[in-house]
Structures are given as structure tokens and as C-alpha cells.
């Protein structure tokens, strides 16, 4: 299932932008249907990035941009009780009841959430998924893999911009692949790519039952 990507995935230093070519990312989008005018509903948990806005601007779409990486659930996670974390995530995930995301962009999120936080995240997101929802994230093959704190933008369906974040890196909670799969019970992992820096690029498919859309 794995293949090793021979490419540099680290963000360029000093906020400079590097490019990451992805073979999995195009699997998120059905571009033909987008060009037919169907609206795409996207949940982006990273910061608002100009390249992503430009990319989605070519299509009829509804973007939810939350930048969880700057929220207390990440920046102050070690100080939060489970109840506080639940409350904060519930407030963030207060979408209209009819919201169903077609695409979820998690980026490096799960490397910065501990197990209870991922479980809560998974539970709160589940009502907003439909059976065709697809998602993308970066995990780790081994828990001792170093991880740069960076943000991503979408240049093309197979090309991401990668930039170092200027804010302090949060506490890292690395999860082995099997553990992460178990925590994300709302998704099946459809494809995984081992990257040259030890990260795993993962393409996920919702496990929401038919009729929940």
C-alpha cells in the first residue's frame, strides 16, 4: 500500500514557499462535476491561504476556513480539561445543521491533537459528513518523526504550496498510523503515501451511512 515519495516536503525556511507535488490530493476532487456548476462544500482546518482561495475561486464552492492551529484547542491544549476542549470544539463546529462537507482538509492537525481530542473531534465532525465526503491529512509513520510547523495552500489539484508558520509550534502528539486510523472512526483510509521525511499522506473516505447526506 505504501510507496516512498522521493521529494522534499519541508517548508522552505524564512517563510519562503516551497511546492509539494501530491499524487493523492487529486483524489479529493471530481473536477468534472465542479465544472458543471455543482457547489463544492469544503472544510479547511488550516489558515486562509491565498493560493487555496484562488484555486477554489474557479469553482462554485462554499469554503469553511477555521485555522484550528491558532485556536486554544491546539495552542493551549495541554492546559485544557476534556470538558473545556469539548466545549471549545463544539463552539467551533457550530455549522448550520444542513451542512455536509464534500472535502475536509485536515493537513497536520492530528499530529497536534492528543487522543481524547481526536476522539472528540471525530465525534463532532461526524454529523457534517455524507457518504461521499473525502478528506486529506498528514500523519506520521513513526512517532519520533520530526515535524515542521507549516501551512499549506492549493496551487493545483496535484500541487500544494508549503510555508513555515511564523507562530510558535504547538506541542506535538505523534500517533502511529494504526492508532490514528482507529481514532478517526468516521473515515476509512483509502490510500496512504509514505513521504521522504517520514510523514504519511493519507486520503480518507467518510464512513457515513447512506441516507445521512
Amino acid at each position: 500500500m505504501f510507496s516512498t515519495a522521493n521529494r522534499s516536503n519541508h517548508a522552505a525556511p524564512g517563510g519562503a514557499v516551497s511546492t509539494f507535488k501530491s499524487t493523492l490530493f487529486p483524489g479529493l476532487f471530481d473536477l468534472e462535476s465542479l465544472e458543471d456548476g455543482r457547489q463544492l462544500s469544503v472544510l479547511d482546518l488550516g489558515p486562509a491561504v491565498s493560493t487555496s482561495i484562488n484555486f477554489f475561486g474557479h469553482y462554485k464552492c462554499h469554503l469553511h476556513i477555521l485555522d484550528l492551529f491558532s485556536e486554544p484547542i491546539i495552542t493551549q491544549q495541554p492546559l485544557l480539561t476534556d470538558d473545556e476542549l469539548d466545549t471549545q470544539l463544539s463552539n467551533i463546529f457550530s455549522f448550520p445543521e444542513s451542512t455536509r462537507f464534500d472535502v475536509c482538509l485536515f493537513w497536520d492537525l492530528f499530529n497536534y491533537l492528543d487522543k481524547p481530542a481526536i476522539t472528540t473531534f471525530n465525534r463532532l465532525l461526524a454529523p457534517y459528513l455524507h457518504p461521499e465526503t473525502k478528506a486529506h491529512c498528514f500523519g506520521l509513520l513513526k512517532t519520533n518523526t520530526p515535524l515542521a510547523f507549516q501551512q499549506y495552500g492549493i496551487l493545483q489539484p496535484d500541487s500544494l504550496s508549503v510555508t513555515s508558520r511564523s507562530d510558535p509550534a504547538p506541542v506535538l502528539y505523534p500517533h502511529p498510523q494504526a492508532a490514528l486510523k482507529g481514532l478517526l472512526s468516521s473515515f476509512n483510509t483509502t490510500r496512504t503515501m509514505l513521504l521522504g521525511d517520514g510523514r504519511l499522506e493519507m486520503l480518507l473516505q467518510s464512513r457515513a451511512a447512506k441516507g445521512s447526506a
Binding site: 489558515p47 462554485k60 476556513i65
Partner: protein, 164 residues
């Protein structure tokens, strides 16, 4: 960006002195109003001329087919509707642009944006949702006269409240 704007000697009202348009994006036939950096307005703003906000506004802003610019020192807690909306300062509220919304590198927006086109410059901060549809043509919005209602205040000494 606005250094070259000329000040009109006869402001239309106490709250929004009118200036001749000078920015390339301003329609040639339009007028332009400025809410200065020391001005603090609470209430609803609507009108038929371009509007630059360098001060503080709480309420709502409806400028129909005109352009609204929230300058670097502008602090807006309001829903904003206009043809083109440029944000260089801070906005908390929902934004509806008939044509486009531009968040510049100094802009900071929390709210929901609806516009056919949205441009985000590098460095801009945004949290919320964006509803885009490049196929939508620009609708014609009814023009309303400039009208300041409610509990607007013109506080010339309110510069200390900026940045809230």
C-alpha cells in the same frame, strides 16, 4: 493607497466628509465619502457613493453598487454590503460583495463572505466561510441615499478606542 486623495471643502454631513474620488477603482462618476480615523459610528450606514472607513463602525453598511474600503486603521463590527469591498483593516461581520471582495495583506476578517470572486493577499487573516461562484454575474442592487440612523456618534477624540 489613499495619500493622493483630495479633501472636498464642503462635506455632505458631519459624519462623512465627501471627497473627490481618486483611486483607480472608484467609478469616474462617483463620489467618495470618508469616515476618518478618529470617527466612531454606531448605527446603520447606507448610500450611493464610494466609502472609505478609517475609523470605527458598529452597525451595518449597505452601499449598493458602490465600493467600500476599510482602511488599515478601520475597525468595523458590522455586516457590509457593496459592489466591491476592500479590507485593509479589521472586520467582524458578514460581507456581501456583488462583484468581489479583496482582503489585503493587512486585513483581518472574521465572518462569512458571499461574493462571486474573493481575493486574499498573502498575510491576510480570515476565519469564517466564503461562498464563491465565478459564474454569477453582477446583480444590480437598488441604490439608497446616504443615511445615518440610530445612535451614531461623531467622537473626534475617540482615537484611543481604535483597535478594539
Amino acid at each position: 493607497m489613499f495619500d493622493k486623495k483630495r479633501q472636498d471643502e464642503t462635506p455632505k454631513n458631519d459624519y462623512a466628509p465627501v471627497r473627490e474620488p481618486s483611486t483607480p477603482s472608484a467609478p469616474a462618476s462617483g463620489r467618495q465619502a470618508l469616515i476618518g480615523s478618529t470617527i466612531n459610528i454606531k448605527g446603520d450606514i447606507s448610500g450611493d457613493e464610494n466609502l472609505v472607513i478609517d475609523g470605527k463602525v458598529e452597525g451595518s453598511i449597505e452601499m449598493g453598487t458602490k465600493e467600500v474600503t476599510i482602511g488599515r486603521s478601520g475597525r468595523v463590527s458590522a455586516n457590509v454590503q457593496a459592489n466591491v469591498i476592500r479590507i485593509e483593516g479589521e472586520v467582524q461581520g458578514d460581507i456581501s460583495g456583488n462583484e468581489k471582495v479583496i482582503i489585503s495583506k493587512t486585513g483581518n476578517v472574521q465572518g462569512n463572505i458571499i461574493a462571486p470572486r474573493v481575493t486574499l493577499e498573502d498575510g491576510a487573516k480570515f476565519k469564517g466561510s466564503i461562498d464563491m461562484d465565478p459564474a454569477v454575474s453582477t446583480p444590480v442592487t437598488p441604490i439608497k441615499p446616504m443615511n445615518l440612523t440610530g445612535s451614531q456618534k461623531n467622537e473626534s477624540t475617540d482615537s484611543g478606542s481604535k483597535g478594539n
